[in-house]
């Protein structure tokens, strides 16, 4: 019984993290049609922004809530700034280039950003566990969990709701959906496609940084943590279907469950769990679970 509840809570909390990490990636892919490897670096930039914001506000004597707000604001600002700079200066020139070149470009951006975080931290591991420690523990099914981890599940759902609402219920969201569907026709209909792309990339970068900032209290923030993130986020996005927000949610839940099941029942399989799920899904639905199959263009 305790194992079951532990599996469920772990799965939910891991799935929440996966969704936070993957949602920006899939959004950017949907609109810009590029796989942004630098998303992993956004995550680590966000984590550092979070650590420094929490550290600074804690030394000012602010409460936990304010510390978290500071972390979120700092990460969002960093994300918006980096996103704007990168889209305007680099990616804008690469629209229409072959996939491989764009992939290399985002890889190069990853290396640069990753190195910047290394310089900022001087290669040290940093900690910002104050909010997580301060929020105490909660008992679920006979086991104790940090309140912070459980709260993240709620925050992740909130993010999902916000993204869904923006895309489905607002004018801008409908424009974005139109660009995803067919950017040429939407341009003909008077949508400023370039602006939508820039905006989406900024939102994607902010989401990546937010994921890092919200995870920062749980981990030792050290250089090079972005690599794993991009690989795993890609797995989530692929399982659900590239470019689909609902797919990212579904993929996060499935992979979260798989990881938590293997972690509790077959620990030696844990590092393969994510990839086994991905391989299994790709074998039967190469476009992912929720992406509509596309006709191949000759």
């Amino acid at each position: 019984m305790t194992t079951l509840s532990a599996i469920i809570v772990d799965a939910a909390s891991f799935a929440a993290w996966l969704f936070l990490v993957a949602v920006g990636l899939t959004l950017v892919f949907g609109v810009l049609r590029l796989l942004n490897i630098a998303h992993g670096a956004f995550y680590s930039v966000g984590a550092y922004a979070g650590v420094f914001a929490i550290g600074a506000s804690a030394s000012l004597g602010w409460g936990i809530a304010l510390q978290l707000v500071a972390a979120i604001v700092a990460a969002s600002l960093m994300g918006a700034l980096i996103g704007l700079l990168i889209e305007r200066s680099v990616l804008k020139r690469l629209y229409g280039y072959p996939e491989a070149l764009v992939l290399i470009a985002t890889y190069a951006l990853f290396l640069i950003l990753d190195d910047l975080t290394r310089m900022v931290s001087a290669g040290q591991s940093l900690y910002a566990s104050q909010p997580r420690d301060g929020m105490g523990q909660i008992t679920i099914g006979g086991l104790q969990y940090p309140v912070y981890d459980v709260a993240l599940i709620g925050i992740s759902l909130l993010v999902a709701l916000a993204v869904w609402y923006t895309l489905e219920r607002t004018r801008i969201g409908r424009c974005v959906t139109a660009v995803v569907f067919d950017s040429e026709i939407s341009a003909a209909m008077g949508i400023h496609v370039g602006r939508i792309k820039t905006g989406t990339f900024i939102v994607g970068a902010v989401l990546g940084c937010l994921a890092g900032a919200l995870t920062a209290p749980k981990i030792a923030v050290s250089p090079g943590l972005g690599v794993e993130v991009i690989v795993i986020a890609f797995a989530v996005v692929v399982v659900g279907g590239l470019g689909s927000i609902a797919g990212a949610l579904l993929g996060a839940v499935i992979i979260g469950l798989a990881r938590s099941l293997t972690a509790h029942l077959a620990p030696e399989l844990e590092i393969f769990a994510v990839y086994l799920v991905m391989a299994g899904v790709l074998a039967f639905r190469p476009y992912g679970l929720l992406a509509p199959a596309e006709a191949r263009r000759i």
Partner: protein
């Protein structure tokens, strides 16, 4: 190309190997060391180049580099084999076998799927390598001195022999790859990048073309990894890390894909850059590397060798053909 005409690429490879071998005694030690590293990087990069000609970007050649390097170390440690020829052939064959098995699955995927799946496989290997005791954990394994068909050089001789050995292994694999690329089957790589459906309609299996290309790329990276292991006399999990695969991509991006020779120059340039960069700005290598990569993508996506091709054409005043590069067969 008719059979009688001299193939200048092969002549050039042999000439380079001969000149380098004859002058090996006069080349300073550190350049010889760089040359050995460049030879190993070049071999793996040729594999990346082959796949790129088929329009596929592999982020996972580091996997085979790792397999090659570790096979050499494990053969020496547990198998007692120290003959350089034997271990290099074993490493290439071992990596090739893994590539055949993996390639069967991966050849179904294209574009970012191919790139990210190859990346995922190599990162899983990296994760395993840092944990398993057989592989020496994150410290890696040491490699002893090699013998060459009974000849056991020590000290300065060992360095000289190792250098010449690396050069000639590169030569052998380079010529073999060139012959492959020139063959009818090799020509299909470009056709696959251009239009897969047309290739299928002509009655050839695209899956098989990519599978074979992947296997060959695996063999080359395995041989490269073995040479790298022999050179550094140490292997560690970093061999499988994605930045190693990134190095190979950088080499191909820098040098272009005009011929088997291009990655050799690119690789040597990379090793030079790396050693100077580590002296001038030891902590910023990765950003410099990234910035160079970005600059090439933005301003010279066809690679440096395209400049040579272009200037050659300008001299002969011919119409510029499409460059062999990533730009060809752009997204449909």
């Amino acid at each position: 190309m008719s059979g009688r005409r001299v193939d200048w690429t092969i002549v050039a490879i042999l000439a380079i190997a001969l000149v380098v071998t004859l002058s090996a005694s006069f080349i300073p030690n550190w350049i010889r060391f760089l040359g050995q590293l460049a030879a190993s990087t070049a071999l793996a990069s040729v594999g990346v180049m082959i796949l790129l000609r088929a329009g596929l970007l592999s982020f996972g050649q580091s996997l085979f580099y790792f397999i090659g390097g570790y096979l050499v170390a494990l053969l020496g440690k547990y198998g007692g084999t120290t003959d350089a020829f034997v271990v290099v052939v074993a490493a290439a064959a071992g990596a090739g076998l893994v590539a055949v098995a993996l390639g069967f699955l991966l050849a179904t995927y294209r574009g970012i799927f191919f790139s990210m799946l190859t990346l995922a496989v190599s990162m899983v290997m990296f994760g395993i390598a840092t944990k398993v005791r057989l592989f020496g954990g994150s410290d890696g394994l040491n490699i002893g001195l090699m013998s060459y068909v009974g000849y056991r050089p020590r000290g300065v001789d060992a360095q000289w022999t190792g250098f010449v050995f690396c050069v000639w292994i590169w030569t052998a694999f380079g010529i073999a790859t060139h012959v492959f690329l020139r063959s009818r089957f090799g020509r299909f790589l470009g056709a696959v990048a251009d239009n897969e459906i047309r290739v299928e309609y002509l009655g050839f299996s695209v899956h098989r073309v990519i599978w074979v290309a992947y296997a060959i790329a695996g063999v080359l990276a395995g041989a490269g990894g073995a040479l790298a292991g022999l050179t550094a006399r140490h292997v560690d999990p970093q061999f499988a890390y994605w930045t190693t695969a990134g190095d190979f991509i950088f080499v191909v991006l820098l040098s272009g894909q005009a011929s088997v020779l291009s990655p050799a120059f690119g690789a040597f340039l990379l090793e030079m850059l790396r050693s100077y960069a580590s002296a001038w700005f030891p902590d910023q290598w990765q950003s410099v590397f990234g910035a160079m990569m970005l600059a090439i993508v933005l301003f010279l996506p066809a690679g440096l060798d395209h400049l040579i091709v272009l200037s050659g054409l300008a001299l002969r005043k011919r119409v510029t053909p499409r460059p062999i590069s990533l730009v060809q067969g752009s997204s449909s």
